[in-house]
C-alpha cells in the first residue's frame, strides 16, 4: 500500500468497513421507517432510538466512504456517538428492560446482530487511527 492510499479511510480494509456500515445504514433506516410510520405508539423510546441509530450509521458510512480530511472528523464524531450509543443503550436495555418493549439495533449490546454493532465502532476507530 502506498502512502497516498494509506492515508484514506475508504481504501484497503476501509472498503470492507464501509460496506458493513452501509448495510447497517440501509437496514436500520428501513426498519425505523416501518416502525415509526406504522406503530410508533407501541414503543416510542425504542423506535426513536432506532431512527437515531439509523442516522448515525448513514453519517458514518458517508464519512468513511468519502475519506478526506473533513469527513475524517465527521467519522470520529459519528463513530464516537455510535460507541456511546451501543454501550449506554446496551446497558439500559438490560437494567431497565421495561423502557425497551421492542428491540433496537443497540439493545443488549447488539446481540440480535451477532454483536456486530458492538465490534464495529472500536474497529472503525482503530482504522481511523491507523490511516491518520
Amino acid at each position: 500500500m502506498s502512502e497516498h492510499v494509506k492515508a484514506r479511510t475508504n481504501q484497503g480494509f476501509g472498503r470492507v468497513l464501509v460496506v458493513v456500515y452501509a448495510i447497517f445504514a440501509v437496514g436500520a433506516t428501513a426498519r425505523s421507517v416501518i416502525q415509526i410510520t406504522r406503530r410508533l405508539d407501541e414503543a416510542p423510546v425504542a423506535y426513536v432510538l432506532s431512527a437515531f441509530a439509523a442516522v448515525v450509521y448513514i453519517v458514518a458510512t458517508i464519512a468513511l466512504a468519502r475519506g478526506n480530511r473533513t469527513s475524517r472528523k465527521v467519522a470520529y464524531v459519528a463513530i464516537g456517538i455510535e460507541m456511546a450509543g451501543v454501550i449506554v443503550i446496551g446497558a439500559l436495555s438490560l437494567l431497565v428492560p421495561d423502557a425497551f418493549p421492542r428491540a433496537t439495533v443497540w439493545s443488549t449490546f447488539g446481540s440480535g446482530y451477532l454483536f456486530i454493532p458492538l465490534i464495529l465502532p472500536p474497529l472503525a476507530l482503530w482504522w481511523l487511527q491507523r490511516t491518520e
Partner: protein, 207 residues
C-alpha cells in the same frame, strides 16, 4: 389423463395441502373430492404411492406441473383461482439463493487469502446473485399477494425490495478496488445475503 394419473395426482395433492398456509380453510378430504384428483376412500399413503408408480410409468416433471395447475384451478374451496402461484420465499429457489450466496462468500474468501483482486468472474457471480434476489423479490411479492396469511407485510416487502441493493452496491464498491479488500467486500455481501433469506423466511412465518 385423469384416469392414468390419478394415483400420483392424489399423492401430489396431499403434498400441496401439507403446506399449512391455508390448512385452516378446509380439510384435505373435502378438497380431494372436489378436484377429481381424489384418492379413493380408506386408502393409506403407501397404497397410493405404489399405485402411482404402477399407473403412470416414468415420472416426468412436465406432467407434475400440469397436475399442479389442474389441481389448483379445480380446487376452488382451498384458494382463489390462480395459475401463477409461487413459493419463491419458502421453496427451493430460496434455498438456491442461500447456496449461491455462500458460494460467492467462499470464492471471495479464497481471493482475500490469496491476495487477489476481484476479477470479472467474481463480478459476474455477484451480479448473478443480485439477479436471483430480484427474482426472489418478484416471486415473494406474488406469493404474498396470493395469501390472506397474517404476516408483517411492509417488513416483508421492505426486505425483498432492498435485498438486491446489497450485492449491486457491493459489486460497484468492490470492482475498482486495486487490493484484496475488494474480495473482502464481496465476502461480506456473500455472508449477509443468506442471513437475509433466513430473515425473510422468518417474517413469512410470522416470527
Amino acid at each position: 389423463m385423469h384416469e392414468r394419473t390419478r394415483g400420483l395426482g392424489a399423492a401430489f395433492a396431499k403434498l400441496l395441502h401439507a403446506d399449512n398456509d391455508h390448512s385452516d380453510r378446509h380439510t384435505q378430504d373435502q378438497c380431494f373430492d372436489e378436484t377429481g384428483l381424489a384418492a379413493r376412500e380408506g386408502e393409506d399413503d403407501d397404497g397410493e404411492t405404489e399405485d402411482a408408480g404402477a399407473d403412470i410409468g416414468p415420472r416426468r416433471p412436465g406432467r407434475l406441473i400440469a397436475l399442479v395447475v389442474v389441481h389448483r384451478r379445480q380446487c376452488t374451496e382451498c384458494r382463489r383461482p390462480r395459475s401463477w402461484d409461487t413459493k419463491a420465499v419458502t421453496g427451493p429457489f430460496a434455498t438456491a439463493t442461500i447456496i449461491v450466496g455462500l458460494l460467492v462468500a467462499v470464492w471471495a474468501l479464497v481471493y482475500l487469502v490469496m491476495n487477489k483482486r476481484v476479477d470479472r468472474y467474481l463480478q459476474v457471480a455477484t451480479l448473478g446473485l443480485a439477479a436471483m434476489f430480484v427474482i426472489l423479490a418478484v416471486g415473494g411479492i406474488v406469493q404474498m399477494m396470493g395469501t390472506d396469511k397474517n404476516l408483517a407485510r411492509a417488513e416483508f416487502v421492505g426486505y425483498l425490495l432492498l435485498s438486491p441493493l446489497i450485492p449491486v452496491g457491493g459489486w460497484w464498491w468492490a470492482k475498482n478496488d486495486e487490493t484484496r479488500w475488494g474480495a473482502g467486500v464481496l465476502l461480506v455481501v456473500g455472508l449477509v445475503m443468506p442471513v437475509l433469506v433466513v430473515r425473510i423466511q422468518q417474517v413469512w412465518a410470522g416470527v
